[in-house]
């Protein structure tokens, strides 16, 4: 494995963490959005808020990690993506601002009307942000980002594949969130909310699966390189994802209390790495290879050191945060 390939793997590790934890936070916003008006949505919103409050900012940092690794290790790819897909990227940035502010403000104010407005801001932007991020990923996979950037600002992402991937991002975030919230409700001994999110996990799993299937057809017609590799080299990962998804559905349908999170996470992780394998050796299929975009060796070494430090310092700290949150030692006050 060359240094550049290793740096690309680090990029994918960051993207995986962001998809799992950031994705679940977006999904929490989705369930907040569809929880119904004040009275009806009261209980699920409380569960969502309690579960998101201590962790969402730390989870968000994975996005920064991905951006920084991309522009440091693969500057031409970063530049090409941003100079082509600036419309969905700017809209995602807008969503990130509204979502963070909406969530933080809602927690700290008391008036009902203001809370509703801030809650709606948080919830709506929690759906739009992953959607636009998904269109960016879809446009990259479809080969719509030229290596030297400045591709078409609209036709690069307003196409079936990018839009489908956007929808799939929203659905899989909702799926992850519902599964995580089932676990949180179980831990709190709240059976009503456990059932509530189980039903939603089931629905989201079906919808995410449908989008993934439609995405495969779109890949076939719009991103042939990626499709061919996904169904050859990437096939084992696709199978793992399918198995995880099927097992999760089975557990949910039989109403068992087996752990759901590893299965949900496994399904998502396998898709992300399947995508990585399918793109290989390209960062921008099929115009920019990993080695063509790579920064000089000394820069890559710094990226590795930073990643090692992250593994030694950040991951245990994150584990501490999650453990404290799961043990109810962190309490969101108002």
């Amino acid at each position: 494995m060359s240094k550049a390939d290793a740096a690309a793997a680090i990029l994918w590790v960051g993207a995986t963490f962001y998809a799992l934890f950031g994705g679940a936070d977006f999904g929490g916003g989705f369930w907040d959005l569809v929880a119904g008006w004040d009275e009806r949505g009261e209980r699920p919103r409380e569960v969502i808020q309690r579960s998101l409050t201590p962790v969402w900012e730390a989870n968000h940092v994975w996005l920064i990690f991905v951006l920084v690794v991309l522009w440091t290790a693969f500057p031409p790819a970063f530049s090409a993506i941003f100079s082509t897909l600036y419309v969905p990227i700017a809209l995602a940035a807008l969503g990130i601002v509204l979502r963070g502010a909406g969530f933080a403000f809602r927690k700290s104010i008391v008036g009902l009307r203001e809370r509703r407005a801030m809650g709606a801001t948080f919830a709506i932007s929690s759906v739009l942000t992953p959607f636009f991020m998904g269109t960016v990923v879809g446009a990259i996979a479809a080969g719509n980002v030229p290596a030297d950037g400045n591709g078409d600002a609209f036709s690069s992402w307003i196409q079936p594949l990018p839009l489908l991937i956007g929808a799939m991002f929203v659905a899989s975030g909702a799926y992850l969130a519902a599964v995580f919230l089932v676990g949180d409700s179980r831990r709190a001994g709240d059976e009503e909310m456990e059932r509530y999110f189980e039903r939603r996990a089931l629905g989201a799993a079906v919808v995410a699966g449908a989008f993934a299937l439609a995405g495969l057809f779109a890949l076939h017609s719009e991103a042939r390189y990626v499709f061919d590799r996904l169904t050859a080299e990437g096939l084992p990962l696709v199978v793992v994802s399918l198995l995880c998804g099927a097992a999760l559905l089975a557990v949910l349908l039989r109403g068992g209390r087996r752990p759901l999170r590893p299965l949900a996470a496994g399904a998502v992780i396998a898709v992300i790495w399947g995508w990585g394998v399918a793109q290989f050796p390209y960062l921008l299929p099929t115009s920019l290879r990993i080695d063509q975009a790579a920064a000089p060796d000394a820069t890559m070494t710094i990226v590795f050191i930073v990643f090692a430090v992250a593994a030694v310092l950040v991951l245990p700290s994150l584990a501490l945060l999650y453990t404290l949150a799961q043990k109810d030692l962190l309490e969101a006050e108002h």
């Binding site: 409050t53 920064i64 100079s83 963070g100 820069t299 006050e333």
Partner: protein, 476 residues
């Protein structure tokens, strides 16, 4: 004819992109000061509270940490916007130099990560962690805040004094020396200048809030401590800052003569340069300024025989724009810094004499405006650094005009950003004010419970509930 119109379109994108970057940075920099320096301020109050069993100090620490939850969230998203803007506004800059100066940001990423994690543990750990475990969970915030500031400002220093990379014939970075990137000649003064600025902004800002309260007649122990703790920190940082800033100005004179000439309005190279305070810079010299003969040369080289480069020796296409603005921004920064130094000396002298703050309301009035003053000085300093580096984005290597995006609609996005941030700023201020009002109304026992004493484990109010008091003992 058609071609003639092109540079105009390009320069229009350049101006819009620069304005948007400047505006979003000016907004974020205040919040990042809070992220860098508020943790230490909070922990000092927390330490006093636990060590001396001081309820008022503990209550201050708890309130400040709740305010920090809001400002950190807003800072996290506005900081994210800046990292998006690197690609959205300056893709050519990132393409060419990401491999070099990205090194600093990779390191900053770790610090930001750790700060976000421990901030969450600290902010939400008030109820259920033991006092000292809680205190220590906050200490990493202080270290990572300083580390993060180091990394980000090192990146900016590198833009001012780039080094540690090799370019090939096509201008592509082919080799990087990370340590030289991180520890470039400007790091040594820019980094401490910014970290001290953060401590000054936070110290004076927090103190000014309690000064306003005291002027309104709220003279309890909570307000006194709320003024004295942050003001002490700020007043220790200020004299050090003036020393660091003075060194920084000399370094700029040595290494970025164009920036120095513009900020000091020096038209002609020579010795015995006059130091101008205020005024308007014109090509025939400074109008309407107070001039102190020879002082500028003296400040640069400790002798009035020191030669200082004037704008006449800078090629026209390498001259920074807006000399008068740069000059006034520099003067305002130094002027405000000096006034804050005097305020600190007054406070320090009276405290030394009789362990109390000066009794006159004029002292409280001065403290009340010191927070805004420190923020203005901060902005002025950044204007000098950033505008003074123009037309370069990487001094001597890449012009800002070469770095800017070809994307359409930058003016539109700038307009949208203005609206969005107006809402964001208003929202943040309203939320903080409503929190402070609730604390005041709740009086000495603000939440009906005390830190480090678990409340009833359930019955937290739901997201959309009216009223602020948790429904204790609700059970489920």
């Amino acid at each position: 004819m058609v071609l003639d119109a092109l540079p105009l379109a390009e320069s229009s994108n350049l101006l819009a992109a620069r304005e948007q970057m400047a505006f979003t940075l000016a907004f974020h920099i205040v919040l990042s000061c809070l992220g860098v320096a508020l943790p230490a301020t909070i922990l000092l109050a927390n330490w006093l509270g636990v060590k001396k069993d001081d309820g008022a100090a503990l209550e201050l620490a708890r309130r400040w940490s709740k305010a920090m939850a809001v400002t950190f969230a807003v800072g996290a998203v506005t900081g994210t916007v800046l990292s998006f803007e690197f690609g959205l506004l300056w893709p050519e800059f990132m393409d060419r130099f990401g491999a070099a100066f990205g090194v600093a940001f990779a390191i900053e990423g770790i610090f930001f990560f750790l700060e976000a994690i421990f901030l969450a543990i600290y902010i939400y750990g008030w109820k259920r962690l033991s006092p000292w475990a809680h205190f220590w969970s906050g200490v990493p915030m202080v270290i990572t805040g300083i580390g993060g500031a180091f990394a980000v400002v090192a990146a900016n220093s590198w833009m001012n004094q780039p080094q540690g990379f090799t370019l090939d014939a096509a201008g592509k970075v082919v080799d990087v020396e990370p340590l030289k990137v991180l520890f470039n000649p400007a790091t040594g003064y820019e980094v401490p200048h910014m970290i001290l600025a953060a401590y000054m902004v936070v110290g004076f800002l927090v103190a000014s809030i309690y000064a306003v309260g005291m002027l309104k007649g709220r003279r309890d122990r909570l307000h006194r401590l709320g003024l004295v703790i942050p003001l002490t920190i700020a007043c220790i940082a200020t004299p050090v800052q003036l020393f660091v800033g003075d060194t920084a100005a000399r370094e700029v004179a040595d290494h970025q003569p164009a920036k120095f000439a513009a900020m000091e309005c020096i038209e002609k190279t020579g010795d015995d340069q006059t130091e101008y305070l205020g005024g308007v810079c014109t090509s025939d010299g400074v109008k309407g300024a107070i001039g102190i003969p020879g002082l500028d040369s003296f400040l640069v080289g400790f002798s009035k025989d020191t030669t200082v480069t004037g704008l006449n020796d800078i090629p026209d296409d390498e001259e920074p724009p807006a000399h008068t603005m740069l000059h006034l921004a520099f003067d305002a920064m130094v002027g405000i810094g000096t006034a804050l130094l005097a305020l600190g000396a007054w406070f320090g002298f009276v405290w030394w004499k009789r362990r109390d703050i000066p009794r006159t309301p004029w002292f409280l009035r001065a403290v009340a405006v010191s927070g805004a003053g420190a923020i203005v000085a901060l902005w002025c300093g950044w204007i000098v650094t950033e505008v003074g580096r123009q037309p370069w984005i990487v001094q001597g290597y890449m012009r800002t005009s070469e770095a800017v995006t070809d994307a359409k609609g930058i003016w539109f996005s700038f307009g949208l950003v203005l609206l969005l941030y107006a809402g964001l700023g208003t929202g943040a201020v309203l939320v903080l004010r409503s929190m402070s009002r609730r604390w005041r109304e709740a009086g000495a026992d603000p939440e009906g419970d005390t830190p480090y004493a678990p409340s009833a484990p359930t019955g937290r109010k739901y997201a959309y509930a009216e009223g602020n008091r948790p429904v204790d003992g609700g059970g489920s």
